[in-house]
Amino acid sequence: MDRQQEFVLRTIEERDIRFVRVWFTDVLGTLKSVAVAPAELEGAFAEGIGFDGSSIEGLARVYESDMLVRPDASTFQVLPWRGERPGTARMFADIRLPDGTPSNADPRNVLQRALSRAAEQGLTFYTHPEIEFYLFEEQLGPNGQPIPVDNAGFFDHVPRGAAHDFRRAAISMLETMGISVEFSHHESGPGQNEIDLRYADALSTADNIMTFRTVVKEVALERGIFASFMPKPLALQPGSGMHTHVSLFDGDTNAFFEAGAPYQLSRTARRFIAGVLKHAPEMSAVTNQWVNSYKRLWGGAEAPAHVCWGHNNRSAMVRIPMYKPMKRQATRVEIRSLDPACNPYLAYAVILAAGMKGIEGEYDLPPEAEDDVWGLTDRERRAMGIDPLPASLDHAIHLMEESELMAETLGEHVFEFFLRNKKAEWAAYREQVTPFELEQYLDRL
C-alpha cells in the first residue's frame, strides 16, 4: 500500500467516514457508484473491487464478465453535501480487466487512448467547458411541465434570487472539491444558469464535469429545487449547451497560435477545425446523444445546427473567439454543438480524433460563414457548401454507423454497444403517441 492510500485510510478514521463511494462512468455518461465500507477499502486498493460488468450499461464482457474497479486514492474527496458526521467520501476509479490491463469499455480509457494518440504527435488537448443547465421548482406544473425558479434574463442580477444563492453554494462546494470555477452567470432562459470550469487537460475536465453534474444536482436538492442538464427542457426557451473551448499544446506552446495569420490561427488550428467540421455529422450521435438533443440543435437562434465556422458568429458550429493581444496561450476555438448531457469522455475523445484526422489528413478549412446561417434557406446553404447536422437521433445513428473514424476512436466494443443502445432509444421514442399528435389529430382525423 502506498502513502496516498494510507492517507486515505487515516482520514477515513479521523473524520469518521462511514461510506466511501467509488465512482466510474458507464458508456452513456451516467455516473456509477459502488459503496465500500471502510473496512473493505484496503483490499480494494490492493486488488480492486470485483463486479459483474454485464450489469452496467456498455461494460459487458470484453474478456471476462468479472471486472475490477480500482479506486484511485489521489482522487479521494470527502463529499461536502452529506452532512458533517458520519461523513461520506468518494474516489474515481479506473475499470480494469482481471489482469490489470485497462478495459476497452471504460469511457475514461477511450479518452485516454485518444489523448495518447495525440501525445504521440507531441500534442496535448485542453478543454474549457461552459455548462448550462436549468433550475426548476421541485413541484412540476399541473400538466407535468417543469417550472423555472425565476424569470430573469441574461446576466441579470436577481436580488436574493434562488439562483444567485444557488450558484454561490454550488461554486463554493465545487471549490471545496478541488474544481476551479472560472465564471458564472445567469443565462438567457428563465431559471437557466451557466457555470464555466477552468481550462484543464481534457481528462481532468471530463472528470470534473462528472463531479460537477453531481454537485449541482445535490446543491439544488438541498435547496428544495432541482437542476436539469436536459438539452431542451422547455420548448419555447433556449436549450442548454456545453460550448467547449479547445486548444492543442505542443509542449508549452499553443499549437493553435500563429502570429499574423488570419485570426492568429495556425495551420494546425485550421486543419483541426476542418477535421471537426468534416466529421461533425458522424460524431453527432456522441456529442448530442439523446432524442431531446436534436430539439435543442434545431431550436434556432444560437443553437448551432449547421456545419460551419465563423469569427464571433454565434450561429456557427465552431466559433473563433476574439483574439486578445498578448494572449497567445489563450488562442482557442469554441465548439458549440455539444450539450451538457453528453458523456464528456467520449465526446472529447471524438472531437480530438476528428481534429487530429484533419491535421493528419491536411484538410482544407472551408470558407468562413459570415452570415447568420439560420437566416439562409436550405438551398442557399447547400450552394455555399454548408451541411446541416443530423436532424434527429435516428439520422445521427445512421451517420455514425458508417463512420470508421468513430469505430476506431471508440473502439469496436463501445462503438457497437453505443449504436445498439441508441437504436433502442430511438425505437422507444418512436413508439410514443405524443401530445402533439393528440392535439393535431385526435379531433380532426
Binding site: R3, Y63, D99, N104, T377, H395, H398, L399, E412, E416
Partner: protein, 984 residues
C-alpha cells in the same frame, strides 16, 4: 627528424609533416621523435604545435616531459581542443601539473576562475574555466591507456559537469534577489548521476526544492523554478565563448509537461501514484550534485525505496520487455550498422542488462545498490549473480566500447555515438585506442567482435546462473541462491518459478552423459522458452519429452548439433499446447525438427504411400488403422511445426491438412474394404468413392476440422445391388468407427450430414440413386451444399462421374431463380437468429457470428449459384480464391472482396491458432486474456499484444458484415442524410 622517422612515427603525409617540422625549427622538435609515435594523429599534432607556436611561442619551454606528452597527444586526438588551446595558450602551462579531480576540487577550481562575476561575463568565464579542466582531463586520458583510465576519466567528467552545475547555480543565485527563499537541489540522473559521463552528452537532471524557513511554499517554488531555468540556460546558451552542453530535465515527473521543480514530497507523491517502470529504472542513477545538500539527501532517501521495490510491481516484466523493444525500435535504420550505443551488442545492451539484474536482485540484496555500470558488473559478480569469467569479459567489452565512444567524441567534441566512416577519422580513433598496425581496420574489427561478444554474454549472464543454482556447471560460475534464481525466473516471465526450478533440476542433475549434455543445452534453450507466451508449459513438455527420449543418442545429439533444431523445438513447445501434447505422446517425432527440409509438408501421394506401408506392417486390420493414424499424427506435427516456425502460410497449411485428411480417408477406406471382404464368402461387391464437402472439398481444412463427406458407391458388374449396398455400408461403418475412436492421436470425425435428406437419409447411396434423387429436385438452394464437392478418396472414376452428375445442379444454366435467392437469404437470416450456441456472442463467434466465416462463404456461394454458368472461372470450390475471381469479373468491387477476405482469413487463422495454442478447437474469440496472448503469438504478433486481438477481429468482421449486407442480402445503404431539414 627524417621523413622516414615521420612515417615510422605514424604521419600519413610525410612531405607536409616535414614542412611543418621545418616551421617549428628547434622549437619542440628535439622531443618529437619520441612523442609523435604516441599521438593518435601525428600530422594533426604537428599542425597543432605550429599553430600554438604562432599563438604564443613561450608555452613549450616550461613544460616537462609528461606535460609535453600530454600536449602532443591531446592535440592529436582532438581538433576541437586544439582550437581551444590556440585561443587560450595560457592554459597549456598547467597541463603538466593537472590531475583528475573530484567534484569538490572542481567546484573550487571553477569558482576561483569565475569569481563573483554575473551576467555574460560570468557565463563566458564559466565556459573558459570548464574547457580548461576538460583539456586537462583529455590530456591525461590521451596520454595513457584509454581502457585502463576509463572509469577514472568518466568519473572526472561527471564531477566536472556536476561542479559546473554548482557554479552555474552560484551565478544564478547571485543574479536573483530572492534566491535565498528557496533551497534548490540539483539531482544528476543518467550517466552524470552514475559518475560515468562521456565527453559530450546532454546532462540529465531533476530539480527538487524546499522553501527556506518561514517562506511560503508556492513562492519558494516559483523562485526555485527561476533558478533552475537559469541554470539550464547558463549551461546551454551560446555566448561569445560558445556553449557547454544541454541540460535535460525531461526525466522529471510528467516529463516536459510537468513542473520543472517540485518539492521532495511532491516527487514522492508522483512516484507513489503515477510513475512507470522505466522511471524507477531511471531513479537508480539519481545523485544530488549541486545546491542544497540537505534537500538533495532528503530527495535521495525518499526515492530509494521506489527503485528497489520496482521489480515487485505489477507488469514489471512486461514493462521491461516493452522498454527493450522500444530502445531497439528507435535506432534509425540507416544508422543501425554504425551505432555504438543503441545497436545490438551496444553500450545500451550492457547498461540495460545490468540495471535489470540490479532491480531484480537489489530488492533483497542491498550491496547491489550501486549507480555505475562497471561497479554493478563487479558487485553482481562478487555476490554471485553472474559468473566471474562472464563478468570479466563484460567489463572488458564495456570499457572498450566506452573508450571507443570517448575517442570518437573527443575528436570534434561532438555528441555522437556513431562509428565514423572516413578513413582518417577511423585511423585516429584506432591509434588513440592503441592499435598501431592498420589501425583504421583493426578498430572496426575489434568493435564488431566486441558487439558480438556482448550479445553472447547477454544470454549467458541472464540464464547460466539460473542453471548453476540447481546444477553446478563449472567452478567459475555464479552462485545464485534458490530464492535468487526464482526471482530471476519470475522476472524472465515464468509464472511458476518453483516448478521451473524442479524441471531444471530433474533435467540436469546426475552424472549421466545425458545430464551433462542438458547442462550445456539448457543455458542456450532457456531464453527461447522465456521469450514465448508460456515458458512454463514449454519447459515442462521439454522435460517430459527428454525423460522419454533421454537415453536416445540421436535426440541430444540433434539438439546439440543440428543448427536450429533446439530453437524450433523450444519455441514450439512454449507456444503450442497442441504440439506439446502430440509430441509428449509421440516423442520420437521430435526427430522432425532435426532433419533438413523436414518442415515442408509432403504431398498426398507420398502420405498415401507411407500410410499404406504403416498399415501393411500390421496383420490385424484394426491395428492397420492404428498404424495409419500414427502416420497421420506425425504429419500433423510436421505441419504444425512448419506453421509455428512461419515457414508455411495459411494456404499451404490448408492444402497440407486437406491432403492429409484425404490420404487418411483413402487408405482407411482400403483397409475397411479389405476387412469387410475378409469376412465375406464372395468378392466385395461395389466400388466406393468419398466426396469431400465443406472445407475438405474446398481444400481449406483446419486443424480441428471434421471431414465433411458424402459417400457414393456403384455395384461392380454383375453384383447384386443389395449385396453392394450392404458391403458399402459395412465398409463405411468400419472406417468411421476406427477413425473416430479415441486413441493416442487426434481423432478424425467423419461427418456425412450434408448428404441428401441429411441424417434421415441412408449414409451411402448408389450412383444411380443419387442421379434419381437429383433428377427430382426442384429446389435451387439445395445445390448450395454441392458447390464445394470434390472427390477426395476411393475410386477415382466413380468420383469423377459423380462430379459430372452434380455440375449442372451447382452451376445451373441461367443461374438460380430469384425465388431461390430469396429462399437462401431467408434461410441464412433464420440461421443467424437461431444458430449461435447458447451463451455465445453473435459478434465473436468465428463461424456463425456477424461478418464471420458463414457470412463470407454464403456470399461467395450465392454468387456462384447465380453466375458460375456464365463465368467458368467461378467453378471452383475454395472461398478465398473465388472471391478474387468475383472481383476480377466485376461481380463485386475489389475493396469489398478484400474486406470479405480479410475477415474470412483472420477468422480462419484465429481458429487454427486457437487449436495450436490450446490444443483443442475454439469457436469464438477467447474470453481469457492469457489465451488471447497465446493466440496472438501463434499468429506471429509480439508477446503481450493479445488485448489487441479482439479489436482487430471485431473490426474486420464489422467491415465484412457491411459488405455482406449489401452483396448477399441486397440491402441498399441508406445513410439517412436529410439535406433539407428546415423545409425552407
Amino acid at each position: 627528424m627524417s621523413r622516414t622517422d615521420l612515417i615510422k612515427a605514424g604521419a600519413t603525409d610525410s612531405a607536409r609533416a616535414a614542412a611543418l617540422l621545418d616551421e617549428l625549427g628547434d622549437w619542440a622538435a628535439p622531443d618529437l621523435l619520441e612523442l609523435l609515435p604516441q599521438s593518435a594523429d601525428p600530422d594533426q599534432s604537428l599542425l597543432g604545435l605550429v599553430r600554438l607556436k604562432e599563438a604564443d611561442d613561450a608555452v613549450w619551454r616550461p613544460l616537462d616531459g609528461a606535460g609535453r606528452l600530454r600536449l602532443v597527444t591531446v592535440l592529436g586526438a582532438s581538433s576541437a581542443l586544439t582550437d581551444h588551446l590556440v585561443r587560450r595558450p595560457e592554459q597549456v602551462a598547467d597541463l603538466a601539473e593537472a590531475a583528475l579531480g573530484d567534484r569538490a576540487a572542481y567546484v573550487d577550481l571553477l569558482r576561483a576562475d569565475v569569481g563573483e562575476r554575473t551576467g555574460t561575463e560570468a557565463r563566458d568565464a564559466l565556459r573558459v574555466a570548464y574547457r580548461r579542466r576538460l583539456v586537462q582531463i583529455a590530456a591525461i586520458d590521451t596520454s595513457g591507456s584509454a581502457t585502463d583510465l576509463l572509469p577514472r576519466v568518466a568519473e572526472a567528467l561527471a564531477d566536472l559537469a556536476s561542479a559546473t552545475l554548482q557554479v552555474a547555480l552560484d551565478i544564478a543565485t547571485r543574479e536573483q534577489d530572492d534566491a535565498a527563499d528557496a533551497r534548490l537541489s540539483i539531482i544528476a540522473m543518467g550517466k552524470c548521476g552514475a559518475r560515468e559521463l562521456n565527453y559530450l552528452s546532454d546532462v540529465d537532471v531533476i530539480f527538487a526544492a524546499e522553501p527556506a524557513d518561514g517562506v511560503d511554499e508556492a513562492h519558494a517554488l516559483e523562485v526555485a523554478t527561476r533558478l533552475a531555468t537559469e541554470v539550464m540556460r547558463i549551461c546551454s546558451e551560446h555566448t561569445g565563448e560558445g556553449t557547454l552542453w544541454q541540460v535535460d530535465a525531461a526525466l522529471r515527473p510528467e516529463g516536459n509537461q510537468g513542473p520543472l521543480v517540485r518539492t521532495v514530497r511532491s516527487h514522492q507523491q508522483y512516484y507513489e501514484r503515477w510513475a512507470k517502470t522505466w522511471e524507477f529504472q531511471a531513479l537508480l542513477k539519481a545523485r544530488p550534485v549541486a545546491g542544497d545538500a540537505e534537500v538533495g539527501q532528503a530527495y535521495l532517501e525518499a526515492m530509494q525505496p521506489f527503485v528497489w521495490q520496482a521489480s515487485s510491481r505489477d507488469n514489471f516484466v512486461e514493462d521491461v520487455q516493452a522498454m527493450r523493444r522500444r530502445v531497439e525500435d528507435h535506432v534509425p535504420r540507416g544508422e543501425a550498422a554504425r551505432q555504438i550505443k543503441l545497436g545490438a551488442g551496444g553500450l545500451r545492451d550492457v547498461e540495460f542488462s545490468m540495471q535489470l539484474l540490479q532491480l531484480v536482485h537489489g530488492r533483497t540484496d542491498d550491496r547491489l545498490r550501486l549507480r555505475s555500470t562497471l561497479a554493478a558488473i563487479d558487485a553482481l559478480s562478487r555476490r554471485g549473480y553472474i559468473g566471474r569469467t562472464d563478468a570479466a569479459a563484460l567489463d572488458e567489452a564495456y570499457r572498450f566500447l566506452r573508450a571507443l565512444e570517448h575517442r570518437i567524441q573527443l575528436s570534434k567534441l561532438r555528441r555522437t555515438h556513431l562509428m565514423p566512416t572516413s578513413e582518417a577519422e577511423l585511423r585516429r580513433v584506432g591509434r588513440g585506442l592503441g592499435f598501431r598496425e592498420t589501425p583504421e581496420e583493426a578498430v572496426v574489427t575489434r568493435w564488431k567482435e566486441t558487439a558480438r561478444e556482448v550479445r553472447r554474454l547477454h544470454e549467458r549472464i541472464f540464464y547460466r546462473p539460473l542453471l548453476s543454482a540447481v546444477a553446478k556447471l563449472s567452478d567459475d560460475d555464479a552462485r545464485l541462491t534458490l530464492e535468487g534464481a526464482q526471482d530471476r525466473l519470475a522476472a524472465l516471465g515464468f509464472r511458476d518459478p518453483k516448478g521451473a526450478m524442479r524441471h531444471l533440476e530433474a533435467l540436469m542433475s546426475g552424472v549421466s552423459r545425458r545430464a551433462a549434455i542438458q547442462r550445456t543445452l539448457l543455458p542456450v534453450m532457456l531464453p527461447w522458452f522465456a521469450s514465448e507466451v508460456d515458458p512454463d508449459q514449454g519447459l515442462l513438455a521439454f522435460r517430459r519429452i527428454s525423460d522419454e527420449l533421454g537415453g536416445s543418442h540421436w535426440y541430444l545429439k540433434m539438439l546439440r548439433d543440428e543448427g536450429s533444431a533446439a530453437e524450433t523445438l523450444a519455441r514450439a513447445l512454449a507456444k503450442s499446447r497442441y504440439v506439446a501434447d502430440l509430441l509428449e505422446r509421440a516423442p520420437s517425432a521430435v526427430a522432425l525438427v532435426g532433419e533438413a527440409g523436414s518442415l515442408t509438408p509432403i504431398d498426398r501421394e507420398a502420405i498415401i504411400t507411407a500410410m499404406r506401408a504403416a498399415a501393411a506392417r500390421q496383420d490385424d486390420d484394426e491395428q492397420a488403422i492404428v498404424g495409419l493414424r500414427s502416420t497421420r499424427r506425425t504429419e500433423l506435427i510436421r505441419i504444425a511445426l512448419a506453421d509455428l516456425s512461419g515457414t508455411i502460410g495459411l494456404d499451404e497449411v490448408e492444402i497440407a491438412l486437406t491432403d492429409l485428411t484425404a490420404a487418411t480417408l483413402h487408405v482407411a477406406l482400403e483397409v475397411a474394404i479389405r476387412s469387410v471382404e475378409a469376412g465375406l464368402d464372395r468378392p466385395f461387391a461395389t466400388d466406393i468413392a468419398i466426396i469431400g464437402m465443406g472445407r475438405l472439398g474446398g481444400r481449406e481444412v483446419g486443424y480441428a476440422s471434421d471431414a465433411d463427406v458424402m459417400f457414393v458407391h456403384r455395384p461392380r458388374d454383375g453384383a447384386d445391388v443389395a449385396d453392394a449396398q450392404a458391403d458399402a455400408e459395412a465398409a463405411i461403418a468400419f472406417l468411421r468407427k476406427h477413425l473416430s475412436s479415441s486413441g493416442p492421436d487426434p481423432v478424425l470425425g467423419v461427418d456425412a450430414d450434408l448428404r441428401p435428406e441429411g441424417k434421415a437419409g441412408p449414409i451411402v447411396r448408389t450412383f444411380d440413386s443419387y442421379a434419381a434423387y437429383y433428377e427430382r429436385w426442384s429446389e435451387g438452394w439445395e445445390a448450395q451444399a454441392l458447390l464445394r464437392a470434390t472427390p477426395v478418396a476411393g475410386d477415382a472414376q466413380l468420383g469423377a462421374d459423380f462430379i459430372e452428375l452434380i455440375n449442372p445442379l451447382r452451376w445451373p444454366e441461367g443461374g438460380i431463380p430469384e425465388q431461390a435467392v430469396r429462399q437462401i437469404r431467408t434461410l441464412k437470416a433464420r440461421m443467424e437468429a437461431e444458430r449461435i450456441p447458447r451463451g455465445g456472442d453473435k459478434r465473436t463467434h468465428f463461424k456463425l457470428g456477424i461478418g464471420g466465416l458463414a457470412d463470407v462463404e454464403w456470399t461467395v456461394q450465392l454468387t456462384q449459384l447465380q453466375h458460375a454458368h456464365a463465368v467458368p472461372e467461378l467453378r471452383r470450390t475454395g472461398t478465398a480464391t473465388t472471391l478474387q475471381v468475383m472481383a476480377d469479373h466485376g461481380l463485386i468491387s475489389q475493396e469489398d472482396a478484400d474486406q470479405l477476405r480479410d475477415s474470412w482469413t483472420l477468422a480462419t487463422r484465429l481458429r487454427n491458432a486457437s487449436v495450436l495454442w490450446r490444443g483443442r478447437p475454439v469457436d469464438a474469440l477467447p474470453s481469457d486474456l492469457h489465451d488471447a496472448n497465446g493466440i496472438a503469438r501463434v499468429l506471429g504478433s509480439p508477446v503481450g499484444t493479445g488485448h489487441q486481438l479482439s479489436e482487430r477481429y471485431l473490426r474486420a468482421a464489422r467491415k465484412a458484415r457491411k459488405v455482406v449486407d449489401r452483396v448477399f442480402y441486397g440491402v441498399v445503404a441508406d445513410n439517412g442524410w436529410d439535406r433539407n431539414p428546415t423545409r425552407r
